[in-house]
């Protein structure tokens, strides 16, 4: 089946841009005046409970930096793949199937955010001072 130029472009754009992904879930509210959740020891693993405030701060900083690096890389990839995808759609449509869809990177961002939320909870639980 021979696809028209427009159809190739359309499919190309669909495949390469992929679908928008939802933002990471918001953590449960444990800090506001009317919070229904209060943090207890069993919310954390034993390795987390052994950490002191300095360790927690350091992990938080490292995670935030890592997240920023990944987000910047993802943005760069998207720009370059958009250009490559247009060409692939015109010249060799099956090539689109082999293009990286960044799903694993997005999973990584979600995992980092989840860990950041947990570290913030730990910060609060341990009554560390400063931002969390």
């Amino acid at each position: 089946m021979q696809l028209s130029l427009f159809n190739r472009l359309f499919i190309g754009v669909l495949v390469l841009t992929g679908c928008a992904t939802a933002p990471p879930e918001l953590p449960q509210d444990y800090r506001s005046i009317g919070a229904t959740k209060s943090l207890v020891e069993s919310d954390f693993g034993s390795s987390d409970l052994e950490k002191n405030c300095g360790d927690i701060e350091q992990e938080k900083t490292e995670l935030a930096e890592h997240r920023q690096e990944i987000e910047q890389e993802l943005k760069k990839q998207r720009n370059s793949e958009q250009a490559a995808g247009f060409i692939a759609a015109l010249v060799l449509p099956p090539a689109l199937l082999f293009m990286d869809q960044n799903a694993d990177v997005e999973d990584q961002i979600h995992a980092i955010q989840k860990r950041l939320d947990k570290v913030a909870q730990l910060h609060h639980f341990k009554q560390c001072s400063g931002t969390s």
Partner: protein, 121 residues
């Protein structure tokens, strides 16, 4: 061309000469309880002031055409601020974003969410 057509044409041409004013849709509008410029937007939680949660809110930035630039977190923030403004929030905390891609209604969408909160005095 009849007179009505001529009038419409004149209105369209002269409309292009309109000067952009300082119209602020948030000012003196009872629908918006807080002005967005007074609302803090942060990816973090707030630890130094007590607050109550008003709502978890979502916003989506979209690009108009396939050739437009991808929506940015700032576009999403504007949508979030609009909602927070209606709720009378003082801040949007824990803001986070998804990734840009094709959405139901747009060639490029970026979704974000956060928690609208009001400080307790």
């Amino acid at each position: 061309m009849n007179k009505i057509g001529l009038l419409i044409l004149c209105a369209l041409i002269l409309g292009g000469c309109a000067i952009k004013g300082n119209y602020d849709k948030y000012a003196d509008n009872p629908e918006f309880l807080t002005h967005p410029k007074d609302i803090l937007v942060t990816k973090e939680d707030i630890v130094d002031r007590p607050y109550e949660v008003l709502a978890d809110i979502k916003g989506t930035g979209s690009k108009a055409t396939i050739f437009s630039a991808d929506p940015t977190p700032e576009d999403v923030n504007r949508k979030l601020l609009d909602q927070a403004s209606r709720l009378g929030a003082d801040a949007i905390i824990l803001v986070r974003y998804g990734s840009v891609g094709i959405g139901v209604m747009s060639w490029g969408e970026l979704e974000g969410q956060g928690r609208a909160v009001k400080f307790i005095q």
